[in-house]
């Protein structure tokens, strides 16, 4: 499609081209038509962070209600809607898109490419994501929120059947939930295909699979998990849609249906999903630790293979979320064993990270603090996961706060900490400025303390028999203190996040300027200027080894000491043959580099989804509108030239 211009130039095509050209130079419009992976990455990241604040505020409200027994901050109804939205938001609108932001920003830069394989599909992925996210959050307004009636779904983030049926959850919130996640799934799928193709196909010459940075590997594994897991939840949600909107019986016990089918399908998706959430974080940590320990990643092949192993094994453990449903001893034994075994490849990663620190010369910069924090906190969460996998004792812990503690340790302590590490680490690359280091340290310590204060006590309240998803509790169950601590901790986290926001806004304007290679990095993104030019690499680099950039900067002398290569020699060999073209002095200016043109088509197509979804719920008349948008978007996409003819 790339090279074919529309056979005839119609006036319509002409005006479309004009619109695209206008968009390219308009500071605001250009964001809506952008197909530049870096800009899409920024869009993903900023959106996800805003949703993090929203989801966090939902959590704060819950914590306010739970701070003491018999509190009256929220009603039962409000509380149920808030935890549903909190969980859904954090999983689908925060960690996934924030990871996606890093895929977008980093994958082309780290593999030495000018863009992703399908730039417009990438834009489509973002717009679909934002359409789904806004649609999901619009559910707050399905009832009159101003008179205090919160809309929003109230079935919990895994919306078990048959509670999710209309008979038991009649409000429209649930409809928004199922269709919203459906839309978000399309966005993830688009991203998944795109990154697999990009990683397999768009690597710079010499960048063999086993020279790829671990972050790229983890992106690859994650993307595979996405493309195989998302269809399953899509079908489950379709089935729910048919049940709720068209009277089908997939989950209706009265018609003889087995409600456990939903659980199987949800967790068949859900467990790979939790690794979708954590593997990008593992990738980020694997990039940061070596740079700040100034030492290569210990056991690179083992870290890679354990990541692949986790990807495979994640398909064989889903029943550990269903131990208490009465599936029988055989199923429970088999899945109990497979679940405890998944600790092995994860442990391999942890130990290799420790091996990386060992003998290093560790620089405690903010990214490193967060990365080390990730390793430590994730380990606690992983270990409580292993405790959960012990089937009979999990009969006592399932659906208690012990689970809540477990998954916040892995999700917050693992994923969110690592994502913050990533932000501190790559911020200089994309802004040319450092985030403030001192604020960064305050951010880190406050967050670490607040985090443990919030979630550690939950282990105890869980073991003291406190079920999750209760909006209130009596005062004589011994849970008061632990909940109070959790609530104090939650507000401490909020403070740390606030400090981060201040740091971000301040640094983006007044931050200390950063060079192309501010951390003494090891991977390709540090060979190009900060911020990178829109074409990324003036010359496509040639890669000779793992950590190629490091080897251009350092070599070993006769005694085995690491010494810097003489200045000036550290330039990248490139495809144009000449080895002298350095990254920093870009005499090239990017002329003659073909980049894809901006396009509105992905946006138009993505807009179709919320129309269709709203139409299904309220008025079928909107459905054709949505379908038209989709069709117009896709045809325009297929027919418009991907890159403008050379002028």
């Amino acid at each position: 499609m790339a090279t074919i211009a529309a056979p005839r130039t119609s006036p319509l095509a002409e005006s479309l081209r004009n619109a695209r050209q206008a968009a390219e130079h308009n500071p605001i419009l250009s964001w809506f038509a952008t197909v530049d992976h870096k800009r899409i990455g920024v869009l993903y990241g900023v959106s996800a962070f805003i949703f993090f604040c929203i989801g966090g505020c939902e959590a704060l409200l819950m914590r306010a209600q739970l701070a003491g027994p018999n509190a009256n901050v929220l009603t039962n109804d409000e509380f149920n809607r808030l935890f549903t939205m909190h969980g859904t938001t954090m999983v689908f609108l925060v960690v996934m898109p924030l990871s996606n932001a890093f895929f977008n920003l980093m994958v082309p830069l780290m593999i030495g490419s000018r863009d992703v394989a399908f730039p417009r599909l990438n834009a489509f992925s973002y717009w679909t994501f934002i359409a789904g996210a806004l649609f999901l959050n619009a559910s707050f307004f399905t009832r009159n929120i101003f008179s205090g009636d919160l809309g929003a779904p109230d079935g919990g983030w895994f919306g078990y059947a048959p509670l999710n049926l209309r008979a038991y959850t009649p409000g429209h919130g649930m409809d928004f939930w199922m269709l919203g996640i459906q839309i978000l799934g399309i966005a993830s799928l688009a991203g998944g295909f795109n990154f697999i193709v990009t990683i397999l196909n768009m690597r710079a010459p010499g960048m063999t699979l086993f020279r790829m940075p671990v972050f790229i590997w983890m992106t690859l594994v994650t993307s595979f998990l996405i493309i195989f897991a998302m269809p399953v939840i899509a079908v489950a949600l379709f089935e729910l849609t048919f049940d709720r909107l068209f009277g089908a019986n997939f989950f209706n016990p009265a018609a003889g249906a087995n409600p456990l089918l939903w659980q199987h399908m949800f967790w068949l998706f859900g467990h790979p999903e939790v690794y979708i959430l954590i593997l990008p974080a593992f990738g980020i940590v694997s990039e940061i630790l070596p740079v700040f320990a100034r030492k290569p990643l210990f056991g690179y092949p083992f870290v890679v293979f354990s990541g692949i192993a986790i990807g495979f094994m994640s398909w064989g453990v889903w029943v550990h979320h269903m131990y208490t449903t009465g599936l029988g001893t055989v199923a429970n034994s088999a899945f109990g064993i497979s679940t405890i075994l998944i600790a092995v490849p994860t442990g391999v990663k942890i130990f290799n990270w420790m091996g990386t620190l060992w003998g290093g010369s560790i620089r405690f910069k903010a990214p490193m603090m967060f990365a080390i924090g990730t390793v430590a906190m994730f380990t606690i969460g992983g270990l409580s996961g292993v405790l959960h996998s012990m089937v009979p004792s999990d009969y006592q812990q399932q659906d208690t706060y012990f689970v809540v503690a477990h998954f916040h340790y892995v999700l917050f302590g693992g994923a969110i900490f690592a994502l913050f590490a990533g932000i501190y680490y790559w911020f200089p690359k994309f802004t040319g400025k450092f985030l403030n280091e001192r604020l960064g340290h305050i951010n880190f310590w406050l967050m670490l303390i607040g985090f443990n204060l919030t979630f550690f006590p939950m282990h105890i309240s869980g073991l003291l028999g406190m079920p999750r998803r209760i909006y209130t509790y009596p005062s004589d169950y011994g849970w008061n203190l632990w909940n109070l601590l959790s609530s104090i901790g939650a507000f401490t986290i909020a403070l740390s996040v606030l400090i981060f926001i201040i740091n971000f806004l301040w640094s983006i304007r007044k931050g200390k300027p950063a060079s192309a290679d501010p951390w003494d990095g090891r991977t390709l993104e540090w060979t190009i200027p900060s911020p990178p030019p829109h074409y990324n690499f003036a010359e496509i680099p040639i890669v000779h080894s793992r950590d190629d950039f490091w080897h251009r900067k350092y070599q070993e002398d006769a005694q085995g000491n690491v010494v810097p290569v003489l200045a000036g020699a550290a330039h990248a060999p490139t495809l144009s043959g000449g080895d002298g073209h350095g990254a920093d002095h870009d005499d090239h200016g990017g002329h003659g580099i073909h980049l894809p043109s901006p396009s509105f088509m992905p946006l138009i197509a993505a807009l179709g989804f919320p129309f269709i979804a709203t139409g299904l719920i309220y008025d079928y008349a909107l459905v054709p509108v949505g379908v038209t948008l989709l069709v117009v978007g896709f045809y325009g996409w297929a027919l418009e030239p991907a890159a403008e003819e050379e002028a």
């Binding site: 039962n76 109230d154 509670l163 008979a167 038991y168 009465g326 429970n332 600790a343 290799n352 659906d399």
Partner: protein
Amino acid sequence: MSDLFRTIRRNAPRYVPLLLMLAIFVLLISGCTTDTPQNTFAPEGEVARKQRDLFYLAMWPAIGVMILVLGGIVLMCLRFRERDPNSRPPKQIEGNTRLELTWTIAPAILLLIVGVPMVAMIWDLGRSPDANAYVIDVDAQRYSFSFSYPDIKDPSGQPLFLPAEPHIPTGRQVAFRLHSADVIHSFWIPRLGGKLDVVPNEDNVLWLVADKPDTFHGECAEYCGLDHATMKMIVHADSPEDFQKWVDEQQAQLNATPKPTPVRSATPAATPSPVAASASPAPTPTATPQATGG
């Protein structure tokens, strides 16, 4: 101000994690000893005790691993921190295969060792209830549990029905046959044992044992809607003699006043449920051996 700041910054990395771990221990220990209504560390029956023991069996090694890893990280951070910002990079070590094998195999072995008692216990607690187990039918509906006693019948053959606060005998298995009238609930009495879900169309059976007479608190552990939080129950465990006395009392009462007992499957739920609408014939309580216990 900035002085204070610097001291904190210099020392925090060293002490915070240690303090943290200390705090963790204090918390854990204090958690184990409190004697609260739903404390899973304070079992009062065979099932709960076995489950707690298994939990300890896994928890202590887990704490060991945690100390190893977190302690290791802290120590390395102290020992290998860069002292001189202009120093040369350290020796570039790429890996060590023997170490890799060690830390792959050692955890695997450790895990399989805990896995054996785990599987054994799954089968132990998952066996069908004894023949002499005392059978009680539990009906879960939003938002309450109600109970009927197939062994205590009124003259018309209707079993004794209790909308709340059942009595159970001690020292003997009690088999709860779980039926749901609407959505999934979970039947859980922490100090007697772990939970089992109450799934529509799937009549799970959970057996528990109470050691000595006491009053036990339980609650629904699967989110089931608006008032899930208050779907609780209180269970009275009586000594065999007291229990027999209670049974006789109930029987006498039933015989005295042959009033129409509420039909078991009737739901007090306000929402029209498809299950109720189709009036599924009052589920004939047949023990389903495929259900897990505990």
